[in-house]
């Protein structure tokens, strides 16, 4: 029965994707994108990936829509109708999809326990996590401990993307200074209902983000989800109280410290392992008890991830919003 629900949601997903492509109004396309993200999260959850669904929820619901709308505000929200290579694109896409569909016939069926993907390292991770790491959430254990190098790399990709956005959007303004009324910078302050509810909810969102951050060893969660959630809470504050008020709460210097501090914390935990005679990112040597060492290492590493993700996403948001007021 649940398989059928999944099939139904996948059909809705495909319809949404095609609608996004056909939509000429970019604002409407962005709205459809956020429906797409909701459907993706539900499908991930049905396919047993609670952690991934939580990440998609945290990123897709708040941050992605806000960033896309910010970019639309700086450019244009209508797409020109251009007839260009359309027929050829259809032919290429159709031909390639037939080719890949032909290839999928050899794939193991959905949920097949004998599929090669489930034979190799996955049983080892599931069996060794309780013994070596001692936390229930295997996803967090692999993310932070077994495949810590991977996550370090991903974190630096995020770091680099944040630095890139800063380089691109915070140069000195080429155009004349603000020709907008100053009321624009005040956000939604004169809308009473969002203001009251928003002010009430911001602490809860940040609190929930902290819960997701530190409960990530036991339930779905971890640094990536928590970073996106906390960032969503702070974006909410910036929306209702205005850009400048939000920058008073979390100033730019603190944001830069968060971005680099998180990445450096991750590196420092790795180097601490080296100094104590283990390998890089080997947490077992951090304390005398290897399992306790793993606990400490995962906690610190996830904290580093959370700090950097919060910092980068929030910096990107501020970069777009500040550009908007200037242009």
């Amino acid at each position: 029965m649940i398989t059928l629900f999944g099939v139904f949601l996948l059909c809705l997903l495909l319809i949404t994707a095609i609608a996004i492509v056909r939509e000429q109004n970019l604002f409407a396309a962005v709205m459809l994108t956020s429906i797409f993200s909701l459907q993706m999260a539900a499908i991930f959850f049905i396919l047993d990936a609670a952690d991934v669904a939580l990440t998609e929820a945290a990123v897709g619901a708040g941050v992605a829509t806000v960033l896309l709308l910010g970019a639309l505000a700086l450019t244009t929200n209508h797409e020109q109708e251009v007839k260009r290579h359309k027929a050829m694109a259809v032919v290429v896409a159709a031909f390639t999809s037939l080719l890949i569909i032909f290839a999928t016939v050899d794939m193991p069926r959905l949920g097949d326990p004998m599929a090669p993907a489930h034979q190799h390292v996955a049983p080892w991770y599931l069996a060794e996590t309780p013994k070596q790491v001692g936390i229930p959430n295997v996803v967090t254990a692999i993310l932070a401990s077994f495949r810590g190098y991977d996550t370090l790399g991903e974190l630096f990709v995020i770091f680099t993307a944040g630095v890139g956005v800063l380089f691109l959007l915070t140069n000195s303004p080429s155009s004349s200074p603000s020709r907008l009324p100053s009321a624009d910078a005040q956000g939604l302050r004169h809308h009473l209902v969002p203001r009251v509810v928003g002010r009430l909810l911001v602490p809860f969102i940040v609190l929930f983000g902290l819960y997701v951050q530190f409960h990530g060893d036991f339930g779905p969660g971890g640094g990536f989800q928590a970073g996106a959630l906390i960032c969503a809470g702070l974006i909410l504050y910036a929306l209702i109280e205005g850009e400048s008020a939000a920058l008073l709460v979390v100033p730019r210097s603190l944001l830069l410290a968060l971005i680099s501090g998180g990445a450096l914390l991750y590196l420092a935990v790795g180097l601490a392992g080296l100094l104590r005679g283990g390998n890089f990112l080997d947490y077992s040597v951090l304390l005398s008890d290897p399992v306790a060492g793993q606990h400490l290492g995962i906690l610190l590493v996830e904290l580093g991830v959370g700090l950097t993700v919060t910092g980068v996403l929030l910096t990107i948001f501020h970069a777009f919003a500040a550009r908007e007021q200037r242009s």
Binding site: T3, L4, V7, L13, L14, A17, M40, I43, D48, A49, A50, D51, V52, L67, L68, L72, L74, T75, T76, E79, Q80, V82, R84, H85, K86, A89, V90, A93, S97, I101, T104, L110, G111, D112, A117, H118, A122, L126, T129, P136, N137, V139, I142, D150, T151, E154, V157, I158, A161, L168, L169, S174, G219, F224, A228, L313, I316, A319, F320, R323
Partner: protein
């Protein structure tokens, strides 16, 4: 449910090609970026489809439970990080588009080409 055994993969293929089609046939740069994120989501779907085990549950160990089948945690780790990296790189792309708009006054690819030719 046997007939739906490959359905997820077919949907993955069609979504992937929808993304590619958008990138090829549209000239609007933001639309192209949205197409790329559809493409990316299709890849996420492929990986997450591969982690499912029949009768399994999410790989968060339940204390005291025996004979529980857990789904494969490894694809989830890969995709979890990829989603956040995806939004970071998407915003880098959007920042580039914003700068292009400031320099050329348009985000349509053919108009940018024409301005470059002159």
């Amino acid at each position: 449910m046997e007939i739906f055994g490959l359905f997820n993969y077919w949907m993955f293929v069609i979504l992937l090609m929808t993304g590619i089609y958008t990138v090829m046939s549209r000239t609007n740069l933001i639309k192209k970026l949205i197409g790329m994120s559809i493409f990316q989501s299709a890849v996420f779907l492929l990986y997450i489809s591969m982690d499912k085990v029949d009768g399994g549950t999410a790989p968060i160990l339940q204390p005291g439970a025996v004979d529980v089948i857990y789904s494969n945690p490894l694809p989830q780790v890969l995709i979890l990080t990829a989603i956040v990296v995806g939004i970071a790189t998407l915003s880098l792309g959007l920042a580039l588009v914003v700068r292009i708009h400031e320099a050329y006054g348009t985000i349509e690819e053919h108009e940018i080409r024409e301005q470059d030719r002159v």
